[in-house]
Amino acid sequence: MSNAATTAPAPAAPPPVEKIRIKVDGRDVEVPKLLPNWQGKLEPTTMLQAIQIAGGEVPHYCYHPKLPVAGNCRMCLVEFGTPMIGPDRKPVLNEDGSPKIAKSVLPYEPSTPRGAIACATPISPGMELYPNSPATKQMREAVLESLLINHPLDCPICDQAGECKLQEYSVQHGQATSRFVEAKVHKPKAVDLGPRIVLDDERCVLCTRCIRFSKDIAGDDALGIVNRGSYNTIAAWKEGAFDNNYTLNTVDLCPVGALTSKDFRFKMRVWFLKETKSVCTSCGTGCNITVGSREGAIHRYEPRENDAVNGPWMCDAGRLNYKWVAREDRLKDVLIRGAKAGWNTALKEISAKLAAAPQGSVALIASARQTTEELFLLGKLARKLGALTDSVPRLGEGDRLLVNVDKNPNMNGAWLTGVAAVPAAGGRLGLIAEAIRSGQVRTLIVFGEDVTKCGIGTDLLAKLETLIVSDILPSATTATATYLLPGCAHAEKRGTFVNAKGRVQKFMKAVEPKGDARAEWEFLHELVHNVTGQNGFSTIEGLFNQMAAEVPAFSGLEWAKLGDTGVTVQI
């Protein structure tokens, strides 16, 4: 096989993009006339996009690149000017021949600049934008001051503190003191918006990001604004009714601390969290996530933007599926027939047993929750031993947005490394059960699955000579294991998953493994070396690169080339 990934035909050259010349802060910039909007449709480029292309920044609350534009926070006001047109419909020129610019001013007050909201105003040829002019700064200051009028300033108890746009912009663009002397408007606090969301109305800046997300992205029009004037508040149509599988994205979206997660509420200040790039393991989509951990404890998952997989979103179920990593009953010790042992002894004994096992007397059941590298090593082991292999299927419900029907995060990895049965995983489980019953298979290797739940009951396991099990949490299988090797959760090791669409994505280690547990690929590497006599790599980078060289689908890939967002391969 030649390297498929690199020799794929180059995509056709994109059609020429129509450009517009404008000036940002006096510098000439050429920007595309049209840019994709939140849905990916081409729309006239806005002032905000143009300034971002020019390398500037415009503070904003309500604007979000993946949401429809609302233009209600007014934070992105920018002073601008357009070329002056004379009565003869011709541009008016300065003495040096350059076009004369008419700054936008109030209609009957020509000395007062009139800004435009950069998020919703399209640019026109020759336009001049002043994102750093004194007038722009004054506008921002004024907007921020009015946003803060009724803000409770309760940062010490607010979960958003540390990642709050109101805090950041107050420092960057705000005033140091408040001129407001009247009593603040007080609104309801700690409102129960839904099973996973708490709302603090006093902190809300009414940007409506959450409303737009629920309606336009999640398709659940559950939120809206009620009451008038200063008493505007966000509300669900019925108390506690904000309950779809994507509600927690509104917590990420909320630029202030109005919407907070019940799960993360008062748990840890965000500035203590170590952020580790990882991948969600709850289904085959493989949403990119950031693991927030402190001192070995995982506190939250947050989506990490990857337009090829999940955009900036992730589902609530996946986001909250992290607590099992810290479960008390995690397997922490190497056990030989129930007695505590060391890694060296166990691996030595297992290696000797496997090396002595006759061809075909070993079967291997892997898990599609394991990393591709581990499955690759298991495949090597199985080929050497002539073993029957399979993995366990795990199908469930999907949805139209992110949730995949396949609940295994690495089903494609199991297929590509040849461990799982084709075309449907689990097809050979019956065969393995039969071989155990007939006595042909004397040794069973199980990784990360409870085989008693898929047709190989404890009666069959009792017939085995040796049962080698590696898992993270205890199960009926681990209870009967001859050799029990404690493994690592994905957050405790490095590796790659291949998602349902064939995207190879790597994830990093966030926390240390519990007890004696070791990353599976580490001890598998040793085991494979002992049994097959082949030398392998003792680093994950080397192992991945070796796998890329040996597995056709991954040819041409390298660990370093995967980047943070992964590479799609042909499946």
Binding site: P156, A161, K187, F266
Partner: protein, 189 residues
């Protein structure tokens, strides 16, 4: 350039016999010995009997304080834990299931607040950073214990040692202000 050569006169023969140095030494030491022994002018402060007057503004051990209603002032913002240079402070936040604050409207207080007095360097950053005026460096400077565990002061101990610090009760004030306003949302007739 700016070097200054100091004129060092060579030692005279008398000086080179070390005699002036020895005589000078005898003079100085005898004077001090006489002053201490006969006049009783020892400068030592004999500690447990004589105690030092702690000056105002002294930075002793940091303790948590209560407000005038006897409620915990700390809201578990963890800024002191963040700023603490020797990492002496460890706060366990209440978490989603935790007990709310023991006063109305503050929502949050630490589940546990520990200061390891063995690590503490009495720098006062915690007091400076505290947005709630809940931690103060007080006058205690002689902290003793039988074990390392004993020197980790927990919330209960810190609050007991800290006493009361009357000040602006901002959360109470907010609550009163909110109550004064018309009820919200406006009740429909």
């Amino acid at each position: 350039m700016s070097t200054k050569v100091v004129d060092r006169a060579p030692l005279t023969f008398y000086e080179r016999t070390y005699l002036p140095a020895i005589l000078g030494g005898i003079k100085v030491t005898s004077k001090h010995l006489f002053n201490t022994l006969v006049k009783g002018k020892a400068v030592t402060m004999e500690y447990p009997e004589q105690k030092w007057v702690v000056p105002a503004g002294y930075r002793g051990a940091p303790y948590l304080v209560k407000d005038q209603d006897g409620a915990t002032k700390c809201v578990s913002c963890q800024l002191c834990e963040f700023v603490c240079p020797p990492k002496a402070i460890k706060i366990t936040p209440p978490g989603p299931e935790g007990q709310p604050a023991d006063r109305a409207n503050a929502e949050k207080m630490p589940r546990e607040f520990e200061i390891n007095m063995l690590r503490c360097i009495f720098c006062g950053f915690c007091q400076e950073v505290c947005p709630e005026e809940a931690i103060f460096l007080q006058k205690d400077y002689s902290l003793t214990g039988q074990s390392r565990e004993e020197m980790i002061y927990n919330k209960e101990k810190l609050l007991k040692l800290g006493g009361t610090h009357a000040g602006i009760q901002k959360w109470k004030h907010k609550l009163e202000e909110a109550k004064e306003q018309e009820t919200f949302p406006v009740p429909t007739p």
